[in-house]
């Protein structure tokens, strides 16, 4: 058991990141359980502690009497330096046990640019980075989360991936580990991997071989082990009513990014925005019942003492009984000093009415995401929002007393022209003018945030070649010249970051060596601008002879085998292709939630149904 020396804790920023003891944390006697999990998040404490998925998994494992889950986050570089100097291995927050002493080390993959942190954490834990180099005593290193749906860039480092919603899968993994240990570890590490490969949704990359064509494209990823299925399909919880929910989450001392109760209204979103990966990965829509939500909310308030409930979902405003639930939550909790907030808004006046109800206090800012500047391009991406919708929504917001709005856009979308770029500025200026029309005053605050589009696997745009960095920067520059008005502020993302995201989002196994080379050269916390070192990545690509443009900028052919074709989210590739073609024709596809089935394949393929309590 490692206890951190006082001198170390005195020297680092925010030492409470490393000292645990939070309300709700669970410490079990490891001698009395059969399977131990170190749940790892490859980013700093405040980010990792804000992640609902990890809270769910912590609960799923710890409710088992035969298993224990503890947490570990990426130490900030100041702490990393202290750990290395003092020779202290990476350890968990609950028991301060070295991570290497656990049966399973499970990483949550939320973001491609946290991959170097995974290597760094393994190194700090003293665990060999590559699966092939791990001995019998090393933990199994596993990973899940949205990025697992293209597992290939991490295939060398992760013993197995869990695809999809893991609350049931992790239970299966815990049971498999416990059974394997009780049976005297038959077959050793490989025996356990073979057992894992039999669990639905589990992908053991070492049991597959990737072959390439002469032109560098993938010829296939095929199973080489009898235990390995030819393709792996995601796990899904058919009915959230039956799913475990963490009503006793860990309550941090430190103020974290989402420092409030997270109440998940539903999972999935079938609006069908064609750039959106989550919309595909979490299909179909499954809602919790209003009564269940009210009960969970009360338990969460009782157990945490938080004074805010945030209604989280991919698109919370789409919850069928939202008005009813918000009203009842406010009635139930306002006497208890607890407020309700709604993080994601739809662009319509109904949302503004609700926002008014929940955010009586905070008139600070409302966020809308038109994503594209012209109707044509919004049809391409299937963002079912018109200029009139936006005008009505911001008009309602300004009438209700808001003076600031944030507008989110993307550049680099398929078929985009400079007219679409100019459309972004025009829309922002229109919003400013609406303020004047509504209030008769100047002084609107319009914040325009423009990110660069990163094509993601398992989306209709998975074939699309990303705009070059030069092109993205040219478009950013064009926008800068168009925003002259002081009431409109414009911010944009570093094109080099979007480029690197695009490389790893659609990469294959050959990127493993690049990751390793970049990490050796000091890459870590790449998602943090103060640590992002593009030159290091360029050197890593050069050193390994891997061409990043092959992954980021290349338009894939319709027939090309993609590195994630053997990893299924339940949505047919033919549906995605159809959607891509519809996109190029600027033809919208309506939501299937209350309309016709669009035959994406998920419901039939996985044997699940849309659950929507608002359907008559």
């Amino acid at each position: 058991m490692t206890k951190l020396p006082p001198a170390v804790l005195s020297r680092v920023a925010k030492p409470a990141r490393y000292t645990g003891q939070e309300w709700g944390s669970v410490t079990k006697d490891h001698d009395k359980v059969d399977a131990t999990f170190a749940l790892a998040f490859p980013d700093v404490y405040e980010v990792g502690m804000s992640h609902l998925g990890l809270k769910i998994l912590y609960h799923v494992v710890n409710r088992r009497p035969d298993a224990a889950a503890e947490r570990v986050y990426a130490p900030w570089p100041d702490m990393e330096a202290e750990l290395r100097r003092e020779g202290i291995p990476l350890h968990t927050l609950e028991s301060f046990r070295p991570v290497a002493a656990f049966d399973i080390v499970g990483f949550t993959l939320q973001y491609e640019l946290s991959y170097t942190n995974i290597l760094n954490m393994l190194d700090l834990a003293g665990i060999p980075l590559k699966s092939a180099d791990r001995g019998e005593e090393a933990p199994l290193v596993i990973a899940g989360g949205p990025c697992a749906f293209n597992a290939e860039p991490l295939a060398d480092f992760i013993d197995f991936f869990v695809l999809g919603e893991s609350e049931e899968a992790l239970d299966d993994v815990a049971a498999a580990v416990a059974a394997w240990k009780k049976a005297g570890k038959p077959g050793g590490r490989r025996g356990l991997l073979a057992r894992a490969a039999g669990i639905g949704g589990v992908y053991v990359p070492a049991f597959y071989e990737a072959r390439y064509n002469a032109d560098g494209t993938l010829a296939g990823v095929t199973a080489t082990d009898p235990a390995a299925p030819p393709a792996i399909t995601k796990r899904i919880v058919a009915d959230l009513e039956q799913a475990p929910y963490p009503t006793r989450p860990v309550v941090p001392f430190l103020e974290v990014v989402h420092d409030r109760i997270m109440l998940e209204l539903f999972r999935g979103c079938t609006r069908g925005c064609r750039f959106c990966q989550a919309g595909v990965l979490y299909r179909p829509v499954r809602e919790r019942r209003p009564e269940t939500l009210l009960r969970l909310a009360q338990e969460l308030v009782d157990n945490t003492g938080y004074n805010e409930i945030s209604l989280t979902s991919l698109s919370s405003a789409d919850y069928s009984c939202l008005k009813d639930v918000v009203g009842r939550l406010i009635d139930q909790f306002q006497g208890q000093g607890v407020s309700v907030s709604l993080p994601s808004l739809r662009i319509d006046s109904f949302s503004i009415e609700l926002a008014q109800e929940v955010q009586k206090v905070r008139k600070s800012g409302l966020t809308f995401a038109p994503e594209a500047g012209t109707q044509r391009l919004r049809d391409v991406i299937n963002k079912g929002v018109t200029e009139q919708d936006l005008e009505e929504a911001v008009g309602a917001a300004f009438r209700a007393g808001w003076s600031g709005v944030k507008l989110y856009f993307m550049i680099g979308l398929p078929t985009e022209t400079d007219d679409d770029i100019r459309g972004i500025a025009a829309l922002a200026h229109r919003v400013r003018d609406i303020y004047r029309e509504v209030t008769g005053k100047r002084g609107a605050r319009v914040a325009v945030s423009v990110s660069s589009f990163v094509p993601k696997p398992h989306t209709p745009f998975q074939w699309y070649g990303q705009n070059s960095m030069d092109e993205l920067e040219r478009k950013q520059q064009l926008l800068r010249t168009l925003f002259r008005d002081r009431s409109v502020t414009f911010s944009w993302h570093d094109a080099r970051v979007s480029f690197l995201e695009a490389v790893f989002a659609r990469g294959d196994r050959r990127l493993g060596e690049v990751l390793l080379a970049a990490w050796r050269r000091g890459a870590k916390f790449d998602g943090w601008s103060e640590y992002f070192k593009f030159d290091v990545w360029q050197e890593a690509f050069r050193e390994t002879g891997v061409d990043p443009l092959f992954y980021a900028a290349r338009e894939r052919g319709a027939a090309e085998i993609l590195p994630w074709d053997h990893l299924s989210a339940g949505v047919d590739k033919s549906f995605l292709r159809r959607e891509y073609e519809q996109a190029l024709a600027a033809a919208p596809t309506p939501d299937c939630r209350r309309g016709d089935c669009r035959a994406c394949g998920v419901c039939q393929g996985l044997g699940v149904d849309i659950i929507d309590w608002g359907t008559p």
Partner: protein
Amino acid sequence: MGKKYRLAITKGEEIRYVSHLDYMRAVERAVRRSKLPAAYSEGFNPHMKLAFASALSVGVASEAEYLDIELTAEVDPAAVGGALARELPPGIAVRGVRTMGAGRAALMAVVNLATYRIAVPLPAAALDAAEAAIAAFNAAPAAPYVKESPKGRREIDVKNFVHSIAAARRPGGLELTLAVRITPAGSVKPAEVLAMLVKYFGLSADPDAALVTRTGLFVADGSGRVAPLDL
């Protein structure tokens, strides 16, 4: 008008590195979990009527923190302590509760003395020299020290706040005990006292490795000290 209670609580080893703001928030959440009828301020952004005596630095533990809380209904003081104790995270214990009559001055305004214990790790061979450094401080008529903060540099005389320091040998080092005056013109932090001893009195110790614990908060006058719970 609600009922006011004063509580004595601790900040234990477990949460030594929690900041004062985070510590206060942890107590506030515990109050909410306890379902005690806490009073809230009026207005759009209601906050719990909770006041702490004196801020503690990150890295400093305490055996004597005090807070005043207002409830909307009368509750037996023992029940207030019991309800809260069940909901406090490890490292925070309730040491005493009493009701406060109306018109009592705010804790912050009356507390004017804090006592500390500092464990300074030292090799046995360095103990004589360390004791000599403390003795030199005690004998010095003045002890100027430059306080540095984000707000700027300010020279103070530590002797205005700390009259003397007692040193006792303990396994692994020296244990210092001291009383620090809190005045309208400011005070000095134990970490600054240590830094001053290292810089000007030749104490050869690593201030980062020392463990500071607040042992008491008092209202002192010429005749003696009274703890906030006994006011």
